[in-house]
């Protein structure tokens, strides 16, 4: 899941991003995720991992890093 997310964010969301991007990169702080990209990311998560991300999941902590996103998806799938 982590690899797919890194690839999606690098290739689709921020193709021009020249910083390092790994599981711990602070996505919000670094500006990798903004309001528009989060909307795209939500669609990706729901399609790719067959989960529904609802309003209660819309907590910045769930999007602060790829690791946090993976944890959220894993919680939702369990």
């Amino acid at each position: 899941m982590e690899k797919r997310l890194v690839a999606y964010i690098k290739d689709e969301l921020v193709p021009g991003y020249d910083g390092a991007l790994d599981a711990k990169t602070p996505l919000l702080e670094e500006g990798v995720l903004d309001s528009m990209r989060i909307m795209r990311l939500l669609s990706f998560l729901e399609e790719e991992f067959d989960v529904v991300v609802d309003t209660d999941d819309f907590d910045p902590e769930n999007f602060e890093s790829i690791s946090a996103i993976c944890d959220m998806v894993a919680r939702k799938k369990s």
Partner: protein
């Protein structure tokens, strides 16, 4: 693939058409909020369309709401009233139904559904328009609640609203502007809330719009809508509904506009024949028809996606952009087709242009919609 509507959907649309023709075709002049018209809408159930039956709602899905709003756009001559209805319903009552607690629903929903109280939502600020998530209104913890301080501008329904969904920042140190935003349900009668005077606008005069000032307004924790920090998600959801349902009404207006233009082109004669026989006029009418048909396709696709429980931010942005820009262009064409008559206020053509201009601005400007679409392309 099936583009047809069910017999029930057609019957429902027919009932809205009949209602609008009978009750909303002749709004009073004067460019003010038509409260009696709003009450008629409430009596018919339009203020309750997507709300749960348990609270007096009609439990209509988004496709039905789109059909109703399209019908209203065609047959109600007060676009401002429809903007007010949209703000009440899709940016206040519906989010309350979707994200509210049982207590919040008990307290507000039935009255909103019956139109006894009027709702709106307050997010735009003098320094936070298109950049909505950079808003500065603060909500700080005070005991078992929050105190809100700040001011909102261009708030639809504010001058007549009883309750507003107010977006405020609860986390000031957040690294990302969309983090730390919380949505509060605020009664406009609460101590510290001041409603500014109604703003005089270029069009949409029937939609009361104004500023709202919050001076240390205490809001109990029970009046937080959703979770603390979840307002951006609520806002995005609202906008997808609004970009369907409000712009369905505008699309409906474009249908009425085209019908009016075709009638005029068939009866107005110049150079010995109806002006519709002139290719220059006929092509304008053809273009107006194309805008409507394409708008309807993308609108209904977006509504269908939402009906299926899918996210549709890209589709909603395309819908909003296409219909609003088409509405402006068709309004210009309608005036041109009517010539001098189109420029005369009493003739009833120029009003649509003044209304249409606003549609490129509210609910996210055309530029913001293009930014969203470009973002989707990875730009």
């Amino acid at each position: 693939m099936d583009f047809s509507f069910s017999a029930e959907q057609k019957s429902f649309r027919r009932s809205v058409v009949d209602f609008a023709k009978a009750k909303l075709a002749s709004p009073p002049e004067g460019g003010k909020f038509w409260r009696a018209g709003f009450e008629l809408c409430a009596e018919f159930g339009l203020t309750a369309l997507p709300l749960p039956e348990a609270f007096g709602g009609l439990d209509r899905d988004i496709v039905d709401c789109v059909l109703a709003m399209q019908a209203l756009g065609t047959h109600c001559r007060d676009s401002g009233l429809l903007l007010a209805l949209n703000s009440h319903l899709f940016t206040c009552a519906l989010p309350l139904a979707q994200y509210g607690t049982d207590e919040q629903k008990e307290h507000y929903l039935a009255r909103l559904a019956r139109g006894e109280i009027i709702g709106g939502h307050a997010i735009s600020e003098p320094e936070a328009g298109s950049d909505a998530f950079s808003l500065r209104t603060r909500a700080t913890v005070d005991g078992d609640g929050y105190r809100i301080t700040g001011n909102k501008c261009f708030t639809s329904n504010a001058p007549v609203a009883d309750v507003l969904l107010v977006f405020a920042r609860t986390q000031t140190e957040a690294s990302n502007p969309m983090a730390g935003l919380t949505c509060f349900i605020v009664d406009t009668a609460a101590e510290g809330v001041t409603l500014g005077p109604e703003l005089v606008k270029m069009g949409m005069e029937g939609a009361p719009t104004g500023e709202v000032f919050f001076d240390d307004v205490y809001v109990p924790r029970q009046r937080i809508l959703g979770k603390v920090g979840s307002a951006a998600a609520i806002f995005n959801s609202e906008m997808e509904w609004e970009r369907c349902c409000l712009f369905a009404a505008h699309l409906g207006t474009m249908v009425r506009q085209l019908e009016m233009c075709v009638r005029y082109a068939n009866t107005r004669k110049q150079f010995g024949q109806p002006i519709g026989k002139q290719q220059a006029i006929a092509h304008k009418l053809a273009d107006m028809k194309v805008r409507i048909e394409l708008g309807e396709l993308v609108l209904h696709k977006t509504a269908w996606m939402k009906q299926q429980g899918k996210r549709a931010p890209l589709e909603a942005a395309i819908t909003k952009l296409h219909i609003s820009e088409g509405f402006v262009q068709s309004s210009l064409d309608a005036i041109q087709i009517h010539g001098g008559n189109g420029y005369i206020r009493d003739y009833g053509v120029e009003q649509d242009l003044r209304d249409a201009i606003a549609t490129k601005i509210y609910s996210g400007t055309s530029e913001i919609q293009r930014n969203m679409i470009a973002s989707w392309l990875g730009l």
